[in-house]
C-alpha cells in the first residue's frame, strides 16, 4: 500500500473539513437571521401584509412584524391553508355554539346577533373595548361572559375552556385580514398607560421586562425559538407546543413563569391593561386568528 498517497489524501480531507468548518462558523456569525426585504413573499390565508408602519408616535419599532414572520416555513405552511390549520377545529365548534341555545332565557348568540359573518365583522379587531355600563374596558372573553350572564342567563365560561376559546376564535375570525384598531383615547388612555407601565417593568428572578426580549432582541433565538415582536394580532393562537388553541393571557402567564415571576391571573386588570397596550402598539397589523405558532 502506498502510505504517502494515503496520507496525502487524508491531509486533503482534513483541510477540506477545516475549510468547511471555518466557513460554517463564519456564516453562522455573519448571516442575518432574518431577511426583512422578503417579508411579503409568503403570506398566511386571507392576509395581505404582515409588515406595517407603526401608527403610534411612541413606537419603538421601525416596522411592525406579525409573529408569523418569525416562524419556520413548516409552521407558516400550516397557517396558509385553513384545512391544515388545526385552529379551525375550534372555529367549527364556535360556529356550532353560536346558534346553540343555552341558559334560562332560552337564547343563543344568534337569537340577538343573527349571522355572525355580518354582525361580528370587525368586532374582534376592536377588542378590548370600553363598556359604558361596566365603566371599564372588556376583553372579548369578558364581553361574551357578560352577554351569557345578562342576556342568556347562562353560566359563565371559564377563560381557557374549549367553548370560550372556540367562541373567541370564531368571532375574531370574522375580522381576519382587518387591521387591529382599538380605541386608545378617552377613558381608554389610562388603561393604555397602565399596560405600558407593566410592559416596561422588570419582574421576576430573571429581572426582565417584556421589552427586554420583544423589543431589544426580537429575531434572535431564545432556546430553539425565534423571539417575535410580541404582537397580539394572531390570538387566540394554535400553539404546537400546547397542542391546542390558547388565549393571549395564557401566553402572558407562560412568559411570566419563564422569567420566574409570579404570573397575574387570566382576566386580571393587569393582563387586560397589557392586552390593551399590545393592541394599541400593534395597531394596523392584520388580525390573523387563529394563527399557528410553535
Amino acid at each position: 500500500m502506498n502510505f504517502s498517497a494515503f496520507n496525502g489524501r487524508l491531509a486533503t480531507l482534513y483541510t477540506t473539513c477545516a475549510i468547511l468548518i471555518s466557513a460554517g462558523i463564519v456564516s453562522l456569525v455573519s448571516a442575518p437571521l432574518f431577511d426583512h426585504a422578503k417579508a411579503d413573499d409568503n403570506l398566511p390565508a386571507d392576509i395581505t401584509t404582515i409588515k406595517v408602519k407603526p401608527s403610534t408616535a411612541d413606537s419603538p419599532f421601525k416596522d411592525l412584524y406579525s409573529g408569523w414572520y418569525f416562524r419556520a416555513k413548516e409552521t407558516q405552511n400550516l397557517q396558509k391553508d385553513d384545512f391544515e390549520n388545526p385552529g379551525f377545529l375550534w372555529v367549527e365548534k364556535g360556529q356550532e355554539l353560536w346558534s346553540k341555545v343555552d341558559g334560562k332565557a332560552g337564547k343563543s348568540c344568534a337569537s340577538c346577533h343573527q349571522d355572525a359573518q355580518k354582525t361580528m365583522k370587525g368586532v374582534g379587531a376592536q377588542m378590548p373595548k370600553w363598556d359604558e355600563k361596566a365603566k371599564r374596558p372588556l376583553t372579548l372573553e369578558q364581553r361574551i361572559n357578560t352577554c351569557r350572564q345578562e342576556n342568556m342567563q347562562a353560566d359563565e365560561w371559564k377563560w381557557e375552556s374549549d367553548p370560550m376559546l372556540s367562541m373567541t376564535t370564531f368571532i375574531r375570525l370574522q375580522s381576519r385580514g382587518m387591521p387591529v384598531n382599538i380605541q386608545s383615547d378617552g377613558p381608554m388612555e389610562a388603561w393604555v398607560e397602565k399596560g405600558k407601565k407593566l410592559y416596561y417593568t422588570r419582574v421576576g428572578q430573571l429581572d426582565l421586562s417584556c421589552a427586554n426580549c420583544h423589543e431589544n432582541n426580537y429575531g434572535k433565538y431564545i432556546r430553539a425559538d425565534h423571539l417575535s415582536q410580541g404582537h397580539s394580532n394572531g390570538f387566540p393562537t394554535y400553539r404546537l407546543k400546547w397542542q391546542k388553541l390558547g388565549s393571549l393571557h395564557r401566553r402572558f402567564k407562560g412568559c411570566m413563569t419563564n422569567i420566574r415571576a409570579t404570573a397575574y391571573k387570566r382576566g386580571s386588570d393587569e393582563f387586560v391593561a397589557l392586552e390593551i397596550y399590545l393592541a394599541h402598539r400593534g395597531k394596523g397589523l392584520q388580525v390573523e386568528s387563529p394563527s399557528v405558532r410553535n
Binding site: 391553508d81 384545512f83 377545529l89 375550534w90
Partner: protein
C-alpha cells in the same frame, strides 16, 4: 375536541396523468392509554384511530397503521397519479370498534 369528524380536501377533477394531492384530517382525542385520571389515579383507557385507509374505486391506494404516539387530530396528506374517473373512500378505524368514512368523487379528463 371531543367530536370525531372526518374532513377531506381532494380535487373533484384532474387531467389524465396529473399528480393530485389529497389532504385528510379527523378530529380525535387520540388518548394514549398511558395517562392517568388526575382525580381517581386510574389509567384512562386507550382510544386512538388505529388504522386509516384510502381506497379508490374499492382498491387501496394508501393506508397507515397508527400507534399511541400519534398526536390528537391526525392529519394525512398523500399524492396520487390520476388515471381514471372514480370515487375515493376514506376510512378511519377507532379502537372502540367504530369506523368513520367519507367519500369524494374524482373526474378525470
Amino acid at each position: 375536541m371531543a367530536n370525531t369528524k372526518p374532513r377531506i380536501k381532494a380535487p373533484k377533477s384532474a387531467k389524465q396523468g396529473e399528480i393530485i394531492t389529497i389532504k385528510t384530517l379527523i378530529s380525535h382525542v387520540m388518548e394514549t392509554g398511558l395517562r392517568k385520571d388526575k382525580k381517581t389515579g386510574e389509567l384512562i383507557p386507550r382510544q386512538i384511530i388505529n388504522k386509516f385507509t384510502a381506497k379508490f374505486d374499492g382498491a387501496e391506494v394508501f393506508s397507515v397503521n397508527l400507534d399511541a404516539a400519534i398526536s390528537a387530530n391526525p392529519y394525512f396528506q398523500f399524492t396520487m397519479k390520476a388515471e381514471k374517473s372514480g370515487e375515493f373512500e376514506f376510512i378511519w378505524q377507532d379502537d372502540n370498534g367504530e369506523t368513520y368514512s367519507k367519500k369524494s368523487p374524482l373526474t378525470v379528463s
